[in-house]
Structure formats: structure tokens, C-alpha cells
């Protein structure tokens, strides 16, 4: 422990070491230092360093700390991939179903996708969210999966009475995202086919769900946000230390 503390004592500023180093080492030799003392010496060295740093150096240290923290955070967070597919609902034989029945049909289709039973089966079949399942009840995992699914209407390229929806699934593995989205899309269409309102509609899925090649997050935006956060951390730290130092000095 003494060797560790002597090493930590070297973290004090060199000007301080020149003035107090010898007597501080003598104190460490006399005392029976504990782990608590090691932390005390480390904390004392940091405080002493802070009093000798200029405002610019503290900002720089804060920015570097912020960048390192942001980098560690981004490594810890997995990338996300968004697979999507399109489903078009077209009125059968050129009929124009009432708006009410259309809304009812879409609602039925969505309910079938977001149902607890279906999502639970998908989670088990594809071994999704295994980390979350270790620490959360299954109902919470299902809720989390619901947040990663979206079914949204988009402008249709078909005739005026057609409706197009994009079914999306966001996951950390692009191939799993694609496979699960296949099931979600099939379920969405099945939900429509099983409905009693289906006689008015035909369903079309032009392409298989996409295999996402790039993560969904915008890297440039993320880097800019991290740098901004790092700068804020640096400025906050520098200001806090300056205020604290000013109080101590007065």
C-alpha cells in the first residue's frame, strides 16, 4: 500500500513536490496508510493540480474527459439497424370502401402486429433482447419491442383509393432486423386477411423487407453532439473549479 501511495504522491504538481515532497514522503513512511489514505492522496493530488491549472487547461482537460466519456458511451451502446417493408392496401374491383371500415381494418392489422402473444412468440423464436430479458420482466421486454416497431402510413404511388404503409423494425443486428420484419409484415397482412372487412381490399407487398446496411443513427450528428457535450462538460468543470478555488482563496 505504501508503494501505491508513494506512486500517487507523484501526481501532485511538480512545484508542490519541490516544496512539500520530502516531508510528505516522510509522513507516508511514518503513517500506516490504508486504502482510504490512498484515495485521500489521489483526491488531494487532483485538487492541488486543479489549483495550478489555468482556465484554458481545465477546459481542455474537461473536453478530453467529455470526449473519452462519449466514446466509452458510444462503444457501450450497440448500433441500430432499421429494416422496412411496404404494404399497399388497394380497394378490390375499384370499389371505394367507407373511411370508417378502412380505419377499422388498419386498426385490426396493427393490433395483430402489436399483440402480446405474437411479439412474445417472435422474441422467443429469434432470441431477441436477451440482455433485457435477464433483467426485465417479459411484459417490459414486449413493451420495449413495441417501441422498436412502427407501422406508419406513407403517400401511395397507387391510385387515389390505395393506402401504403411502411412496416419498420429497429434492432442491433441487421439480419435479425430483416428476418423479424418479414414476420411483422406477414402478420400485418394476415391481420387484414383474417378480418371480415377483407372482401373490399387486396394487399400487396412489392418487395421483401430490406436488409439495412448502415446503422440508423446519423454519425455526423452524433459526433457533433458528443463534441458539444464534451465542450459543455469542460466549461462546467472549469467554471466549478474556478468558483471553488476563488472561495478557498478568499
Amino acid at each position: 500500500m505504501k508503494r501505491a501511495i508513494r506512486f500517487l504522491a507523484r501526481l501532485y504538481p511538480s512545484s508542490w513536490r519541490r516544496r512539500y515532497g520530502a516531508e510528505f514522503d516522510a509522513l507516508l513512511e511514518d503513517a500506516a496508510p490504508s486504502a482510504r489514505d490512498a484515495f485521500d492522496v489521489f483526491s488531494g493530488a487532483l485538487k492541488m493540480q486543479a489549483t495550478t491549472w489555468t482556465f484554458g487547461r481545465i477546459v481542455l482537460a474537461g473536453v478530453v474527459t467529455g470526449i473519452l466519456m462519449a466514446a466509452a458511451f458510444s462503444v457501450a451502446l450497440p448500433a441500430h439497424y432499421l429494416s422496412h417493408s411496404f404494404v399497399t392496401l388497394m380497394p378490390a374491383d375499384g370499389s371505394s370502401p367507407a373511411n370508417e371500415s378502412t380505419l377499422q381494418l388498419v386498426s385490426t392489422m396493427e393490433q395483430s402486429v402489436f399483440s402480446r402473444e405474437f411479439l412474445t412468440a417472435v422474441i422467443h423464436e429469434h432470441n431477441l433482447y436477451w440482455r433485457e430479458r435477464l433483467r426485465m420482466p417479459l411484459d417490459d421486454v414486449v413493451e420495449s419491442m413495441r417501441r422498436d416497431i412502427s407501422v406508419v402510413p406513407v403517400p401511395s404511388s397507387e391510385n387515389g383509393n390505395a393506402f401504403t404503409f411502411v412496416v419498420q423494425f429497429d434492432y442491433s443486428d441487421p439480419r435479425v432486423a430483416q428476418r423479424v420484419n418479414e414476420e411483422l409484415t406477414s402478420r400485418f397482412v394476415e391481420g387484414g386477411l383474417n378480418s371480415q372487412l377483407t372482401s373490399h381490399w387486396t394487399f400487396r407487398v412489392p418487395d421483401a423487407p430490406s436488409l439495412p446496411l448502415k446503422p440508423t443513427t446519423n454519425r455526423a450528428r452524433l459526433i457533433a453532439l458528443r463534441l458539444l457535450a464534451a465542450l459543455l462538460v469542460g466549461l462546467t468543470l472549469a467554471t466549478a473549479l474556478r468558483v471553488r478555488h476563488g472561495k478557498t482563496a478568499s
Binding site: D25, A26, L27, M48
Partner: protein, 95 residues
């Protein structure tokens, strides 16, 4: 009372001491064990303010002494502390 600078000044008010002797003395009279970093942080601040100064010595264990202004500062601080203690005790008795 856990302000390290006040504890160091109180210790030196009883006579010149080096770092380790201060640590032991403070533990004895205040029941507080100052870590080496905290103790030397306080010594650095007190010396910068002129409230203590080193005593000439050839030993590595550098002794310190309290200065006149240091003694005045300690008296002020202890008087303030005494007022707080007396007020607190009075209020506890009347409660």
C-alpha cells in the same frame, strides 16, 4: 468540527509539530483522522495565507508553527464556533 485547517491550527496552538505528529494529535483531541492528502492540503493553504510557517529543521519531518495572524484567525473561528455551540445547547435545553 471537521474543517482540516481549523484542526491543524488548533493542533499547532499547542506547540510546533510535523505532519505525522499533527495527525496523531488531531486524532487524540478531535477524534478525527485526517488523511495525508487532506492534512497537506490544509498545511499548503495555511502556509499560503501566512497562518502557519515552517520551523528551521534539518529533519525530513518538517515542523510547523502557528503565526500571530494564524492565532488571531483561530481565536475568531473558535469564538464563532463557541457562540454556535452555546446557542445550540441553550435551544436543546429549552426544547
Amino acid at each position: 468540527m471537521s474543517d482540516p485547517t481549523l484542526l491543524v491550527l488548533s493542533s499547532l496552538a499547542g506547540g510546533d509539530k510535523h505532519g505525522y505528529a499533527m495527525m496523531e494529535d488531531i486524532e487524540r483531541f478531535a477524534g478525527v483522522r485526517l488523511g495525508p492528502g487532506t492534512l497537506y492540503g490544509a498545511i499548503t493553504r495555511l502556509e499560503q495565507r501566512g497562518w502557519i510557517r515552517q520551523v528551521n529543521s534539518k529533519d525530513r519531518r518538517q515542523p510547523y508553527t502557528i503565526t500571530g495572524t494564524g492565532r488571531e484567525h483561530l481565536q475568531d473561528q473558535l469564538a464563532n464556533l463557541g457562540r454556535v455551540v452555546r446557542a445550540g445547547m441553550r435551544r436543546l435545553e429549552n426544547a
